[in-house]
Amino acid sequence: MDKDMLKKQIENMKFQATMERWPLSKSIAAFQSLTMDIFNDDSKMKVRMLVRNPDDYMRETKRDIHKLPRNYDPTLHPLEAPREYTRALNAVKLERVFALPFIGSLDGHRDGLSCLGKNPDHLSWLFSGACDGELKLWDVAKRRVLYTVQAHDGFVRAVAYSQESSTLYTVGDDKLIKQWKCDAEDGSDLKAPVNTILTSGMLTGISPHRSKPVLATCGEACHLWEKSRAQPIKTFQWGVDSLQSIKFNQVEENILAACGSDRSIILYDMRESVPLRKVVLKMRSNSICWNPMEAFIFTAANEDYNLYTFDMRNLTSPLNVHSDHVSAVIDVDYSPTGKEFVSASYDKTVRLYDARQAHSRDIYHTKRMQRLTCAAWSLDDRFIYSGSDEMNIRIWKARAAEKLGVVKPRERTALQVNAKLVEKFVHHPAIKKIQRHRHVPKHVYNARNELRSGRIAARRKDYNVRTHTKRQLPVIPEKTKAIVSEQQ
């Protein structure tokens, strides 16, 4: 029994009883004496009148919502925080209820996907290259193929759209760089390449300059091409190993980054004759992506299940290590806002990361999705495309619980308030648990546990070694453990 409540109730009742016993004549007398006092007193006494202005409570039109006068005095709302907590709990539950990120899949390829390309001029267009050399142009909004062309013999290694020349570039295993025109609304320009360059070495990646007619390809070395020439205008070589991914910086346009199979990430400046710098990690990086909003930030998807975000100016230690994948990370792409990125992994999952957080904010997977080969974040920051081995492209929502249709203002504010509530109470265990909880495939779950036990064992061993050796062992921060060396 709640003693306080009971006590209060009883007191209330007592008070009422005393009031009942208070005779009317007495109260009238009391009022009279009071008024007499007031009039006798020389000092000013304000008598407040009750005012009822229709403007305060009447609706102007029938369609208006009713005004709800409220007293915001906090003393009248002693249970503010608990009530908001409950609301936050409901909000976070609702968010999980509505978290249905999968929108649909685009199937039609006859072999595994190898690469995806976005088109900044056509938001709904998506290029995809497959392992059998097929290139498809998709209309994502209608979820259908616009055009299909056999682009290369063997893999289509990379697809990239150049806004400068509004053409598409592809490279394939047949050592060809092909330039495609895509002006026509139905994509029929893709019938035949506009230009083809036959190169001497194998090619694995391509990236066009943002504003100049320059291309960068990687393979045995990093080559810079000009659109009209058959020979590379510049070649950067550092060491003998091949490169598997190359990207132009979109903000500081002359800078490039590539990752090599000698476990290195190499930075280039298009204007220089030599590369700039190289950082060697413990394992190979598969892909690299520059932050489109922060010129000096890039993220590399690594074989050691992690992603590494670097500040280009300080390669000795990464800014952040994004873990959570349980197998090699194959591809990474930044959201156009530069606040988040998506990673596609060999563990058959797509993960979304806050660019400045170490752990993923969400994980997307379906039963039938196989090893992922590529991922892309749509240019309006709403969708994520993922291509996988089993020949499908999948479309996901970038924010799992977001409503995609028309959102009326009141609904929008409600959603925003809910988000704010969750943000406010997110540190409370119950809410945090609900917010963080994701169902993951069994193999991911098991692998995660396995990895965790391995980590714990390693840590224990490290502790033991430290405690039982006489000489002082250097403390290496977790971040820099993956860095082997920075080479000039």
């Binding site: 006590k7 009883a17 915001y72 900044p120 500081e252 400046d269 909003m293 156009p336």
Partner: protein, 763 residues
């Protein structure tokens, strides 16, 4: 073996013998032996392998039997022949002048190119240089990135078209004349007095016209000025004249006159304007300070020194010197007001009447004076009691007459061997009260032995514990009386009645004043207490007494304001009471009975409707006086709460405040909710967000500058309500470095257009 020996050829034996012999021979033989060894060594080996070993240090001798310079032990530098030495000879022959010139030219050091670095090294250098360059270049994005990261809200795409309508004011503020006509007009307008500014009603010309004087006024003013100037010059001349007068008496008289005037003024001010009088007094006091700074009356002057020498023989000199020193002392002496005076000077602040016993303003509590001056009075009484004790002792000594000597002896002996002297013990027995009380005092201060200052404690408890009823007071008085009587009885046993009466009187006085209850102190270790049983002589005793009192004072001061233990007890009591279950009264007045005022609820009803609370469960801290154990802790509740301070917060207070601040519209207005709930990133569906461009860089820089300016302007508005709102930039508070950087960037980028416009102006 013997057979073998026999079988050995005789020649070999011979040889062995030979070797032995050679070994015993002289150096010649040794050389031979060496040769032999060499020959043997040569037999099987190539000649090239032969290494000659020099046995003696001999300077190399060339074929011309000339000693090569530089090989010898002497300093080679001195002996080496240089080209210049040879040239000296040539210089005499003009025929060979060309040769000498050629040699000189050859000697001039010609710079040679360095050997180029090896390729990998060179590449490394090149790469490092390139990297540094790029690093610097890319750092220009720092500020933009920082701003975007910190931004409360970002709306993508960042480069939004400017929808702001430019007002005329903005336009005019930014407008710069370009064409010659515009230039001319602006020149005309700029310095013109007839142009009206925004914030003023009149043009400068108009204002001038308004404020200007008429001719008459101007003449009058001029006259006035001339007059005042003339007066000033007279005054100055007079002062100069007076300064020139060398007569000391004149100056002294002048000074005295001045001083008198000052004092008179002071007296006059004292009555009318005490504030100014005080200032005046300070001014007068300055004289003392100045005197202290000079060496005038310190006996350091020439005259003083001379007098000092003379003073040995001359009485007058001595006197004058002493006189001077006295003056110096007098002048430098700080004028001290006695304490009583100061007390009298400051009028007692009339306290508001309140029930707070600590404030002492209530009727029930003692008068303020007694409390505030308690310590002083305590001191006074203590001193008095000491004097009285002394007098008593003296009197006893006098009465004992002959014993006086013995006493002194006894004191000495007591210092050496305390217990052995009987006499001292006796004496102490006779005048023993002080010492006894002493030891008791010791105990009372530091330990909670209840023996001694009962009077003190009684008084103190009166001071500290609030007396709610009159009965309390009476009861206490009785108790005090009882204890007093007990005490007097005890003392009767100990000493003569006179002394007792005197001492108790003193103690009574003391009792009136003390403020602190010694029993309410937290007990300290007794190690600090000098509780020796050694009989102590009067002198030593007094000193100790002083120390004790000192300690008492410090303790009293330390605990003057708080009563920790009592508070704690009270708190615990409250906690226990709160946790205990209480009777639940379910009686409803007027239910089943007659209603109305003044009616009592019947016993039957009470017994029926009051649910009696079960006896309180045992508490874990029941038997522990110094602990409160909270038993309300709820584990289930704990699980729902935040354990650690979450990351971005620095303090629990900050975190708690965020939790406390409501965000939903039930508790705060709708507008506030909207403001609070705005998302950090806003994107529009179907809108392509392009990567960052230079334009954004510029616009963010602009935005920053604008916002800064706005803030600055606001600051200015807030800080000063002066009429001149337009200030120069240099007047504004210095902008932080980030902003300056941004400005620099902006300047860099907009460099070209600016120069263009300048050129146009030049044209």
């Amino acid at each position: 073996m013997s057979k073998l020996k026999i079988l050995q050829p005789a020649e070999e034996n011979q040889e062995f013998l030979d070797i032995d012999e050679t070994a015993s021979n002289d150096g010649d033989d040794e050389q031979k032996h060496e040769k032999l060894l060499n020959a043997i060594a040569k037999l099987g080996k190539n000649k090239k392998m032969k290494i000659t070993q020099r046995t003696e240090p001999v300077s190399k001798i060339n074929e011309h039997a000339l000693v090569q310079i530089g090989t010898g032990e002497e300093d080679s530098k001195e002996k080496k022949v240089k080209v210049n030495d040879l040239l000296r000879v040539i210089a005499k022959k003009p025929r060979l002048g060309a040769l000498s010139k050629a040699v000189k030219k050859a000697n001039l050091r010609t710079p040679t190119l360095k050997v180029p670095l090896e390729k990998p090294q060179a590449l490394r250098v090149e790469r490092a240089a390139g990297y540094d360059k790029v690093k610097e270049e890319i750092s220009r994005w720092d500020d933009t990135v920082k701003v975007n990261r910190k931004a409360e809200q970002l709306i993508f795409p960042l480069a939004q078209p400017a929808l702001k309508i430019c007002s005329t004011k903005d336009f005019t503020s930014k407008f710069k004349p370009k064409t010659p006509l515009e230039q001319e007009i602006s020149d005309l307008l700029r310095g013109n007095k007839n142009v009206q500014s925004d914030d003023q009603e009149l043009t400068p010309a108009e204002q001038e016209a308004l404020t200007s004087m008429s001719l008459k006024e101007a003449l009058e003013r001029r006259k006035e000025l001339a007059k005042s100037r003339a007066l000033q010059s007279y005054q100055e001349a007079k002062a100069r004249r007076q300064n020139k007068i060398k007569s000391k008496t004149y100056h002294r008289l002048l000074k005295r006159e001045k001083m008198k005037n000052h004092v008179k003024e002071f007296e006059a001010l004292k009555e009318h304007n005490p504030q100014k009088a005080l200032e005046k007094l300070e001014q007068l006091d300055k004289k003392r300070i100045e005197e202290r700074m000079t060496l005038k009356h310190k006996g350091a002057g020439k005259w003083a020194k001379l007098q000092a020498i003379r003073s040995k023989y001359d009485e007058n000199a001595r006197e004058s010197l002493a006189d001077q020193l006295r003056i110096g002392k007098e002048v430098t002496r700080k004028v001290k007001k006695s304490d009583d005076e100061s007390e009298e000077d400051i009028p007692p602040i009339p306290m508001e009447k309140s029930d707070n016993p600590w404030l002492g303003g209530s009727e029930s509590s003692r008068p303020t004076n007694e409390i505030t001056s308690g310590y002083r009075k305590l001191w006074d009484t203590v001193n008095k009691s000491k004097e009285i004790k002394k007098s008593i002792n003296e009197s006893t000594i006098v009465t004992n007459g002959k014993q006086k000597k013995n006493v002194s002896e006894g004191i000495i002996k007591a210092n050496a061997k305390p217990r052995n002297t009987k006499q001292t013990v006796e004496i102490e027995d006779e005048g023993g009260d002080p010492s006894a009380s002493d030891s008791d005092d010791n105990e009372s201060i530091t330990s909670d032995s209840p023996e001694m200052p009962e009077e003190y404690s009684e008084e103190l408890s009166e001071g500290l514990v609030r007396k709610s009823t009159m009965e309390d007071f009476e009861q206490q008085d009785e108790e005090i009386k009882e204890k007093k009587t007990q005490r007097t009885q005890k003392s009767k046993r100990k000493s003569t009645e006179e002394k007792v009466s005197k001492v108790t009187k003193n103690e009574k006085e003391a009792k009136l004043i003390t403020d602190i209850d010694p029993f309410k102190f937290i007990s300290m270790s007794e190690a600090t207490v000098l509780n020796s049983s050694v009989p102590v002589t009067e002198e030593g005793n007094e000193e100790e007494e002083d120390e004790e009192l000192q300690r008492r004072m410090t303790l009293a001061e330390a605990f003057a304001d708080d009563d920790v233990i009592e508070e704690f007890k009270e708190e615990k009591k409250q906690v226990v009471n709160a946790s205990a279950p209480k009777d639940i009264d379910l009686t409803l007045p007027g239910w089943g009975e007659w209603g109305g005022s003044g009616l009592k609820i019947s016993k039957r009803k009470k017994s029926k409707f009051i649910i009696k609370a079960p006896p309180a469960p045992k508490r874990r801290d029941d038997n522990r006086a110094n602990v409160i154990i909270n038993e309300d802790k709820n584990i289930n509740m704990r699980r729902q709460q935040v354990n650690d301070l979450p990351f971005p917060f620095r303090s629990t207070a900050a975190f708690e405040s965020t939790i406390r601040a409501p965000v939903t519209s039930t508790f705060i207005p709708e507008t506030a909710v909207r403001k609070l709930a705005t998302p950090k990133v806003i994107t529009k569906i179907g809108t392509v967000i392009a990567p960052m461009t230079d334009e954004v860089l510029i616009s963010t820089a602009h935005r920053n500058i604008e916002s800064n300016d706005k803030m600055e302007l606001e600051d200015v508005k807030k800080s000063s309500k002066d009429k001149d709102k337009k200030r120069k930039r240099s007047d504004l508070p210095a902008t932080p470095p980030i902003k300056r950087k941004m400005r620099k960037n902006e300047w860099k980028i907009t460099d070209k257009p600016a120069t263009k416009s300048l050129k146009k102006i030049n044209n």
